[in-house]
């Protein structure tokens, strides 16, 4: 029996056919394709979850500075704010966002992270999943299931479009990460397979067209803050899906649209550091300073 699928519709069919949730389909698929037993695969994914958790703790506790010095310490500032003050967007939201930023700051300082789906977008999934997990008292095994659900969403995007900023802009990278995170949360909180895909579709729709324009070509600025907005986007979309709101455009078509948008972005806005924020007076000045100092 094959558990392979190419698109969202096929995933929905598989879930209904076997009366399984998305995470279970992914687990069966992984076991079937790799020949490993399911316990071992769950254990491997748990290792990823541990690295994600450690990165959040590290980013919120330690004084982080990136290799170039452009980023570091912002997650701590936000963490401080939501713990001590009434925040504009609420402490649950800020907790997730601070966690996500912490992970990307650890990434930029050459600390240990899990690419999810990429290193540049590595904050969103742990930020969303782990903070929602704490709020809803979800145990580690539940969060591991969430990672499998997230991987199914990412797999469809990688297969039919791209998760690379160089190919599709930041919409592909942080967009995919946010869609994965939203999908995982929807399933963990009891959403149906269809609701998971609506959540992922709405997330992707919200960020369509976002360019990839890193200052000096480094995974630092604006990457850390774009993980913040990706986190907020995932949480909002998950709530919309769980409220029963449907994406007017189905997930598979949103993915296709994202790919088309990505391809029509000029190359200057696809991780080349030749356009957007990288090509502002400050962006150019910083690039010059970083490379003159470092060589």
């Amino acid at each position: 029996m094959s558990y392979n699928f190419n698109c969202g519709n096929e995933l929905i069919e598989l879930c209904h056919k076997h009366n399984k949730k998305i995470w279970e389909i992914m687990l069966c698929r992984e076991s079937k394709n790799s020949g490993e037993n399911q316990e071992k695969i769950l254990e491997m994914m748990k290792e990823n979850l541990k690295v994600m958790k450690s990165a959040i703790i590290k980013g919120l506790k330690e004084d982080i500075k990136s290799v170039s010095g452009l980023v570091g310490g912002d997650a701590k500032l936000l963490d401080n704010r939501y713990k001590k003050n009434n925040t504009v967007s609420g402490s649950k939201m800020m907790k997730a966002v601070a966690s996500a930023m912490a992970v990307v700051e650890v990434n930029a300082s050459m600390g240990q992270v899990v690419a999810a789906p990429t290193a540049g977008s590595c904050g969103i999934l742990p930020g969303v999943l782990i903070s929602v997990g704490e709020d809803f008292n979800l145990c580690e095994d539940e969060l591991v299931k969430g990672l499998f659900t997230a991987s199914a969403i990412g797999l469809i995007i990688a297969k039919n479009a791209t998760v690379s900023g160089a190919e599709g802009g930041c919409q592909a990278e942080t967009g995919a990460a946010a869609a994965m995170a939203a999908g995982a949360v929807v399933e963990l909180l009891g959403g149906t397979v269809e609701e998971v895909l609506h959540g992922a579709a709405m997330t992707m729709k919200n960020i369509l067209g976002l360019v990839c324009d890193p200052i000096a070509g480094l995974v630092e600025c604006p990457c850390v803050k774009r993980n913040a907005i990706g986190t907020a986007n995932a949480l909002i979309s998950a709530d919309m899906a769980l409220a029963g709101i449907k994406s007017v455009i189905p997930f598979d078509e949103v993915v296709e649209a994202m790919y088309k948008v990505g391809k029509s972005l000029p190359e200057t806005l696809r991780e080349t550091a030749l356009g957007g924020l990288a090509d502002t007076p400050t962006g150019r000045k910083l690039a010059k300073e970083i490379f003159n100092n470092k060589k």
């Binding site: 190419n6 690295v51 650890v106 050459m110 240990q112 992270v113 990429t118 297969k159």
Partner: protein, 223 residues
Amino acid sequence: MKNYSAFDIIGPKMVGPSSSHTAGANRLGRVARKIANDDIKSVKFLLHGSFAKTYKGHGTDRALVAGIMGMMENDEELKNSLEIANKQRIKYEFVETNLGEVHPNTVKFIIEKSNGEQVEIMGASIGGGNIKITEISGLRLEFTGQYPTVITRHKDYPGVIAKVTKMLADYDINIAFMSVYRQDKGQDAFMVIESDHEFKDDLGIDIKREVDDVKDVYIIESM
């Protein structure tokens, strides 16, 4: 369309900041180390394209040196690899260059072994930590390190391939993919064999002993 695993999407575990510039670079270094038979006195890294432009900020230099020393892409010590190499008296040098019409994240390793022998390896980091090796000692070939791989450098002569594949069959090793490369008839050739199962360490010694025309065997674990 690639048949992605859940761990291709959620993974790899790595030190940042970039799967292509850091994790991929580290993996290229690890393969280069294997091809130099774990024996490296000095390395000159020729960096091309995006590798040349952003290697300092992405820690590509540290990742490459870590790989050359056999450190993994998720080793937190990776960021101190230059200092570790200095202590181990491994010499390294980074040269920004243009390697021609190749992938933007390409590096050429010029490695000197302890006996003075030189090995050259070229490879590219092609995204998400995935790599491909494109050249060994001036001879073009291609493999990704996704599968356990055995490479032989042998004389382009009838029967060499049959003898090696027969040996693998005797070891009960299934060949998943295989390619053969050569520059000129009767000269040096490479055979790249990828399998689903890790090869035993002594396989290389066995092949060299049993098959006269095989000069070198490299065994590379899957990434």
